[in-house]
Symmetry: C2
Subunit: 317 residues, 2 copies
C-alpha cells in the first residue's frame, strides 16, 4: 500500500456547464465538495476556477486528478472540443501544478466517470464494462479485462459517433448518421425546434421556460415525457431506437457483460432508462447473453470526481 | 521457459471448406502441414478428419490447438453456426483428446487468426489491433493491451454484424443492415444473382464456371474486378463503402492503431485491398490518427494454424 493511502486527494470534473471538485479518501468516499460554473472565457479562467475550488476544500489534498472533456493521452491533453474559447493547446497539468504546487493527473471525463463507477459504483467487480453517458452529446468509455481502456491514442469510447444510418441525420461532428445525431440532447433540441417551426405542437419549450432553463435539459425532457408530450415521446423513441442499433453494433464487437448508463438523462429517468435501452438493444445483438445487465450509474455526478481522484492517487504510487 | 518450448505442437484451422493442420515450432514456424476438405456430415466426421490429419504429420506433436468457426469460451464451444450438420453440442476438446491422447486447446477461428498475426505476422509488437477477415462472411477479432480480447462470453470481434444502415439489406443472421450484408461474399453473390436476373450483364458467373468453382470465390471476384466487370465493380464499391462505415464506428469506440485485413479476398487482392479499406474508413473516423495503419495479413492461411498452435503451447505451461 502506498504511503499516501490514508491521505486525501482531490477529484475535479470539468463539464461544459459546471466544474465540480471533491475531496476523496482512500475508500473512494467524497468527504467534501465544491462547485462553480465553468468559465466561458478560455483556459486561464478555467484553471483559476479549478485552483480556487481546490483551495476552498476542508483539507489540502496531496494530489489532484482532473477529468477533461477532451482527448487525453499519457497525461497530455490533445483536444478539448467542447469548452468555450478553448482554442489553443494548454499544458493543463503543468499550469495547474504551478497554481496549486501539487501533482496533477489528467484523464478524459467519460473515462474517469466509468473509472469511478468501476471503483465504487455500478460496475464494481465487473471486468468488461461499457459506459454510455447520455447528456448534451453521447459519450462513452470502456473497462476491458478489469482496466480502463483508452485506445492507442486515448480516444477510445466515442460511442456517440457509432454510425446507425449511413447518409442519416446530420451530427454535431459534421458527419451523418452518428447515434449522437438522434440521441444527443443538443441534436434532439434542434430537431424539436424544427418540428415546432413546421407546425407540430409541443410543450418542450414552455416547460423549459417554466423551469427557468436556458435549453431543453434532462429535467425538461423528464417533465415533457411525464406529460406524454407527443414530440418529446416521438423524439425519445427515435433516440432509443438509434441507441439500440449503436449499442448492438458495439456489443457485437466487444461482448461486455455490463452496460452502465449515466449522464443527465440517466439521473432524471433512473433505471427505467437503462431498461428501455436494454429493450432497444436486444434485437441487434448477435449472441444474446442472458447474464448481460444494463444499469444506471450509481454515483451520478460523483463518478467523475471519484475516478479523477483515483488517477491522482495512482500517480502517487 | 516451459519444458515444452522446444517440442512441436499442432495447430488446426477448421474452415467451412477445408481443414488445415500444421506442425509448429516454438518460433511459430510451420514445419509440416496437411489439409483435407471439411466433411459435411457432422461433428464425428470432422473430428475423425482432424485426428487423421494430425496423425499424418511428420512428427507427433505434444499438444493440439484447434480454431473453430464458433463461439468458444474458456475452452467450451458454445455455438458452431457455420459448419454443415453440426446441430448438437459436442465436447470437441474431450472427444478429440480421446482420439489423439493429447491435450487439446480450443479457440475461435477469427481469434486464433489474429493471434497468429500478432505472434508472427503483420501485427507483431502492436498492442491494440483490429483484425477483419473478409471471406464468405466478415469476421473479426481484437488484440487489446497486447492480449487477445474475447469478451465476457468469448463472443467479441463480430465486426460483420456492426450495423451500417438501420432497416438496410438483409443479412444472413436474419437482421438488417449489418456490414456483412454488403461486404460478405455470400451476400454479394446473392445480390449479383438478383442483378443478373433483373437483366444486368455480368461475367461473374461465367468466370466462376471458367475457373471451375462452385461459387463466386475470392479468385472469381479478383478476375471480375481485373476485367472491370460493371456488376463486380459496383458491388465491390458498395462493400467497401459499408466496410468503411463499420470500421469507422468501430475505431471510434476502440481507437486501435492497426487494422489487419485478412481472409480470402485479402489473399487475392493484397495490400491494395487494405489501402482501399483505409480510404473508405477515413471519412467516418472522429479522431484521425496519422499513425494508424491498415495492412493485409502476412501469414494468410497459416495465421490460424500458428495462432491455434500457440493456444496449445500456452496450455502446456
Amino acid at each position: 500500500m502506498s504511503k499516501h493511502a490514508s491521505r486525501l486527494v482531490a477529484g475535479v470534473d470539468v463539464g461544459g456547464t459546471n466544474i465540480e471538485v471533491g475531496l476523496v479518501d482512500a475508500d473512494h468516499t467524497v468527504v467534501d465538495r465544491a462547485k462553480a460554473h465553468t468559465p466561458t472565457d478560455g483556459p486561464d479562467a478555467v484553471l483559476d476556477t479549478i485552483a480556487d475550488l481546490v483551495g476552498s476544500l476542508d483539507d489540502r489534498p496531496v494530489a489532484v486528478g482532473v477529468g477533461i472533456p477532451g482527448v487525453v493521452h499519457r497525461g497530455d491533453v490533445l483536444t478539448v472540443p467542447n469548452l468555450a474559447n478553448w482554442t489553443s493547446t494548454v499544458e493543463i497539468g503543468a499550469e495547474l501544478g504551478d497554481r496549486l504546487d501539487l501533482p496533477i493527473a489528467l484523464g478524459n471525463d467519460a473515462n474517469v466517470g466509468l473509472l469511478g463507477e468501476h471503483l465504487a459504483g455500478a460496475a464494481r467487480g465487473v471486468d468488461d464494462v461499457l459506459g454510455v453517458w447520455m447528456g448534451t452529446g453521447i459519450g462513452g468509455a470502456l473497462v476491458l479485462g478489469g482496466h480502463l481502456y483508452g485506445g492507442t491514442r486515448g480516444a477510445a469510447g466515442e460511442i456517440g459517433h457509432v454510425v446507425v444510418q449511413e447518409r442519416g441525420a446530420l451530427c454535431g461532428c459534421g458527419r451523418r448518421g452518428c447515434v449522437e445525431a438522434y440521441a444527443g440532447r443538443r441534436q434532439m433540441e434542434v430537431t424539436a425546434t424544427a418540428l415546432q417551426a413546421a407546425g407540430r405542437e409541443t410543450r418542450l419549450f414552455a416547460i423549459r421556460d417554466e423551469v427557468g432553463k436556458p435549453s431543453v435539459t434532462s429535467k425538461v425532457w423528464k417533465k415533457a415525457l411525464d406529460e406524454n408530450d407527443p414530440v418529446a415521446v416521438e423524439l425519445f423513441a427515435t433516440a432509443l431506437d438509434a441507441l439500440g442499433v449503436a449499442l448492438g453494433s458495439t456489443l457485437n464487437v466487444l461482448d461486455v457483460g455490463l452496460v452502465v448508463i449515466g449522464g443527465g438523462l440517466a439521473e432524471k429517468l433512473g433505471q427505467d432508462l437503462a431498461d428501455r435501452v436494454a429493450t432497444a438493444t436486444a434485437p441487434w445483438v448477435l449472441q444474446s447473453d442472458p447474464d448481460r445487465r444494463f444499469v444506471v450509474s450509481e454515483l451520478g455526478d460523483d463518478a467523475g470526481i471519484v475516478g479523477a481522484a483515483s488517477l491522482a492517487r495512482d500517480g502517487l504510487d
